[in-house]
Symmetry: C2
Subunit: 139 residues, 2 copies
């Protein structure tokens, strides 16, 4: 277990419980962009007593203290991610698979937006959807 994670727990005041540890482990074991339900199923293999609500709560704590990130596509469950760097993900509209897109910089997009609105910009997220190679083959 990364000692940085322990630090973040200590600073936040939350405790690093076995359930939260299990959720983190599930994130590592998964294919990289699991939904809360996916995490729940992985966690349940080792500890069948955990409830889905507990997983949701653990995920939100982990996100709050900056240990994991999340992304949301319309009409589909939120995906969680250990990659904290700003990066682009694309979601397949057919099978729901999520993959990273390397090499596309958003540069100064957020500051360009701030220059053109009287709102105070809090976030600018690029939501990318497409068809993955596997689904394209099966069409």
């Amino acid at each position: 277990m990364d000692s940085g994670i322990r630090d973040k727990f200590r600073k936040s005041g939350y405790t690093l419980t076995s359930q939260r540890r299990a959720v983190l482990e599930a994130l590592t074991e998964s294919d990289g962009h699991p939904s809360a339900e996916d995490v729940y199923l992985i966690v349940k293999r080792k500890n069948p007593r955990v409830a889905l609500g507990t997983v949701y709560q653990a995920l939100s704590v982990l996100e709050e203290i900056g240990v994991i990130g999340s992304k949301h596509w319309n009409e589909s469950p939120t995906r969680y991610d250990l990659n904290l760097e700003p990066h682009l993900d694309i979601r397949c509209g057919h099978c729901g698979a999520v993959s990273e897109i390397p090499g596309v910089g958003l540069d100064d997009l957020e500051s360009r937006i701030q220059e053109n609105t009287t709102y105070q910009v809090k976030s600018a997220t690029l939501v990318v959807e497409g068809v993955c190679p596997k689904c394209r083959r099966n069409q």
Copy 2:
């Protein structure tokens, strides 16, 4: 009523019913980015018998035939829009107001994404959130 709208209905095979016309009129009367519920309330003022489900269904038909557009921010209802040009909207996280952001071009973003992924890119939407001037003042 725009004759282009009639054309789109004719081509699509859908009929331009009074309910769908009422939904379109509500879009024009509204402040520009109403939710389905907002549209429902406006429509109901003139025709109290329409059901919320009918409004949803009318909105989805109108979007399907390309008469209106829609945008979705996490954790909040979908907003509908008569502006069909690609453009940026920002949503206030406090009051939910939605406004357009002029002057920010996404340029070749979608093609840059396509170059860096094996997925077939279908859409790349920028979801921008912030705080509107009014809410900032009241903080």
